[in-house]
């Protein structure tokens, strides 16, 4: 990796939700530079929990780690006031489902503008202009009109783009995208991904892409973390994904039917308890 200090440095992060016995995330360690990191894993493996833990958005969970730094800030000890500065401005997160992630009774544009006004002292007019600019940056055709729409009046793809606009408005250094496209139709999915990719490249920011779709992560990320039952079982460069050594990763890759692929029986995963051991410790 580069010699400069990584933007994000996490060591042995564990998260346990209050009222549950086993932690949802156990001993997760990784670092992130100005690159695109994918986190994949099956449902419930703790992907979103990791993302939310980084922003300290989990009021009902216990968070422990040996180290959790974002640039110069120690996230572990940072007080809420410090986090308010970070959130939105320096790190932000694109939430999964636009249907639920936008305030249903506030116009979309205002919600975007609010993100800007929270961090930048400016007039309403300026914020509005900035928001509209951002809306066109995410390729919304008639940003002036969309600005005044309510969330239920926009389609899923548009909603997702509004989310992206809102989260990238204040030029954060780190963006966590939590399954940004899984709620969308295949036809819109690619468009949204392209926009996101374009913006990230343009601004040169760190991106964590959370998804359960291996193939997607492979094409959009530089590196991939594979999670299984709250642990990272394998870390790989995206292009090496086909050479994954962990049987879980291999199994996931093989189980996917492919267009034009053979119609033979699909290989299925045989889960083993030993997978719960961290990958490094296996021979």
């Amino acid at each position: 990796m580069t010699e400069e200090r990584p933007m994000l440095d996490v060591k042995n992060l564990s998260v346990r939700y209050r009222g549950t016995d086993t932690p949802a995330v156990r001993d997760v360690s990784f670092t992130l530079g100005r690159e695109r990191l994918g986190i994949v894993g099956e449902s419930g493996s703790g992907k979103s929990t990791v993302g939310r833990a980084l922003l300290k958005l989990l009021p009902t969970a216990e968070l422990t780690a040996d180290r959790m730094r974002f640039e110069e800030v120690d996230l572990l000890t940072a007080p809420e006031r410090k986090m308010l500065e970070l959130r939105g401005q320096r790190m932000s997160m694109i939430l999964q489902d636009p249907k639920f992630s936008l305030n249903p009774i506030q116009r979309c544009g205002l919600q975007i503008a609010e993100a800007y006004r929270t961090h930048v002292r400016c007039s309403k007019g300026e914020a509005r202009a900035k928001a509209i600019e951002m809306l066109s940056a995410v390729q919304i055709r008639d940003p002036e009109r969309v600005f005044d729409l309510y969330p239920h009046e926009v389609s899923g793809g548009m909603g997702q783009r509004i989310m992206i606009a809102m989260m990238l408005l204040a030029d954060p250094g780190l963006v966590i995208a939590d399954e940004p496209t899984s709620a969308l139709d295949v036809t819109v999915r690619l468009k949204v991904l392209r926009i996101l990719d374009g913006l990230v490249r343009e601004k040169g920011i760190g991106l964590i892409m959370i998804s359960h779709d291996l193939s997607l992560v492979r094409s959009f990320c530089d590196r991939v973390l594979i999670m299984y039952a709250g642990r990272v079982v394998e870390t790989l460069a995206a292009r090496d994904l086909d050479n994954a050594r962990h049987p879980y990763t291999q199994g996931l890759l093989a189980a996917q039917p492919r267009i034009g692929g053979s119609r033979d029986e699909l290989p299925v995963l045989e889960r083993k308890d030993s997978w719960l051991e961290p990958a490094e410790e296996r021979p």
Binding site: L190, S215, L266
Partner: protein, 248 residues
């Protein structure tokens, strides 16, 4: 093995017409796919065909008999459905035993214990699962139970409404394998809804592309790979899927 034929199916909710006029035929023992954007009416077709919705017009015949004219019992034993969400398709308060014995009781079938064990065996679950409750099962296991419930009345036509889209790829593979095996062994006729062309390609012989309530094109499976569709929307859909898969 019975052929299914949908003729001029049309339904409206209030002022909105959901399906203007849908017709297609499925050969006996065929697996027929339905794809299309979200909200295009795929599930609605299945719900109409199974008479879960009854206010539609047109007709559906199975083996030459109209589903409307079939008595309830016969219809239940001809056609069953598997739903999309494995978390919602099992009653959270019923044990698997209740889930499976209920249809037998309703239909007045005897030898229940054996039938239940067999059905569970067919979907690859041990008989000990009979006394579990849905919340003690994983998504894939639930979907198997849902399939077992459909199988226990020994129907001839299975309607599959996105049976795997709520599941992980790894679990999806198990279910798809199961469905393929069952069709080979018993010769069911399937109508399967999916939004994933890879799954359609893996399972089906022919499929219909739907857009806002209408079937824009019916294509054979082979048409996917080379995107041989003619209708623009069908082309776009297949194109996007192909592109997604290749980019990806």
């Amino acid at each position: 093995m019975k052929p299914v034929s949908v003729e001029h199916m049309s339904i409206r909710f209030g002022a909105v017409t959901i399906l203007p006029d849908v017709s297609f035929d499925v050969a006996a023992g065929e697996c027929f796919g339905l794809v299309g954007e979200s909200g295009s009416g795929k599930s609605t077709i299945l719900r109409c065909a199974s008479m879960l919705l009854s206010i539609w017009t047109g007709d559906v015949t199975i083996g030459g008999r109209s589903v409307r004219e079939m008595p309830l019992n016969e219809r239940c034993r001809t056609l069953q459905m598997v739903f999309q969400d494995p978390y919602g398709s099992l009653h959270p308060r019923h044990s698997i035993r209740t889930v499976l014995s209920e249809p037998l009781k309703i239909q007045g079938l005897d030898d229940r214990e054996r039938r239940m064990r067999e059905a569970l065996g067919d979907v690859g679950l041990p008989a000990s699962f009979l006394d579990r409750y849905p919340h003690q099962l994983s998504g894939g296991q639930r979907q198997r139970v849902a399939i077992a419930r459909a199988l226990i009345l020994e129907p001839e036509v299975l309607l599959l409404d996105e049976p795997t889209s709520a599941l992980d790829v790894s679990v999806q593979a198990e279910i798809l394998n199961l469905l393929v095996r069952l069709r080979e062994e018993r010769g069911f006729t399937y109508i399967m809804v999916s939004h994933d062309l890879a799954v359609i390609d893996h399972m089906c012989d022919r499929f219909a592309v739907m857009q806002s309530g209408e079937i824009v094109e019916v294509l054979p499976r082979e048409a996917i790979k080379g995107n041989e569709a003619t209708h623009p929307y069908a082309r776009e859909l297949i194109g996007a899927s192909l592109e997604y898969e290749s980019v990806v």
